[in-house]
Subunit: 110 residues, 4 copies
Amino acid sequence: MHEINPAMQECIDNCLRCYSVCLRTAMSHCLEAGGKHTEPAHFRLMMACAEICRTSAHFMLIGTDHHKHTCRECAEICTECAADCERVGNMQECVDACRSCAESCREMAA
Amino acid sequence: MHEINPAMQECIDNCLRCYSVCLRTAMSHCLEAGGKHTEPAHFRLMMACAEICRTSAHFMLIGTDHHKHTCRECAEICTECAADCERVGNMQECVDACRSCAESCREMAA
Amino acid sequence: MHEINPAMQECIDNCLRCYSVCLRTAMSHCLEAGGKHTEPAHFRLMMACAEICRTSAHFMLIGTDHHKHTCRECAEICTECAADCERVGNMQECVDACRSCAESCREMAA
Amino acid sequence: MHEINPAMQECIDNCLRCYSVCLRTAMSHCLEAGGKHTEPAHFRLMMACAEICRTSAHFMLIGTDHHKHTCRECAEICTECAADCERVGNMQECVDACRSCAESCREMAA
């Protein structure tokens, strides 16, 4: 079986974890809490973050060098999402998942 | 933060793992080996398996009861994919990921 | 180049249109209107509908016979989504897209 | 109902068309032809192209400004994919879909 670079595998895992946490949190916690949590700019950022994480993982799994570009964009969106979740408050799981993902994507993009 | 049922979280993890293993194996091992590995019926089954696993995880993360139907379909495709990977040979990682995913999807679909 | 069955091509087009309309409407109209439009059950159904449409199109494009099962599920969710959008009101574009998609998916599933 | 910018709607349509053509062609024509068509670098590029087109459409539908970055990356990958499909030959439908998509994504990224 094909070996995968351990740093890349870790980045894939971080992307899929961040995708899971952002999507689940938006669709449960945010929708149910309402107010600041469903303010369009915040909710769209959560959904964009989930999607770019899903896509970056996909690019690494496909094995294309373009993963560097999707990882760079992923790092940017995750960083922005972490800051916005911190501002909204009571979203620490998201903040942490976004930061871990941003960090490993930044390394893969280099 | 919202709590998620541990059995569902385990199923999500199994789906995302099976998605990762099938997609990565198809796009590296299978494409490079050629022959039986890129025979259209086998390769399409691998890609369909990756996609239904991705979708089933997505449905559970959205929090819709329709996840029962995507999980049922996921269990079927994973079972078929495991058998086909066994037939082709030298794909044990896929066989194992498909079987674990099929088992937990079958439980979620019940 | 490979020929595709015209009925299947039409179904793919209907799925991608329904995906587009549901996702765009949820992320613009619903988020901005709030109230009934972001009530969790309604919003989750819109997002589940967008995702199953995307997946059904993907299965037909992959060329796997399992598209019959994703199309059957797609027809069910679209039908439910059309009814719910009608109940919420002022969502005629979604109602129409869901109904057209449900109809062509039902035919592909047969 | 919410109005969408007509230039953006055209770009979404071009992305979804390019996604459809690349994925269907890879999974039917390329897999069945074999040889140059399943050479890993070419096949991976086709799949990466399909995925970035799907993602760029998704970002525009979500309504996030980050669509500019996914559109820029989409224009790059589509341009590369068009050139590679031309090199491989007998893939004019893909070449055309990739070029139309690249052009409208370049405008949306500006």
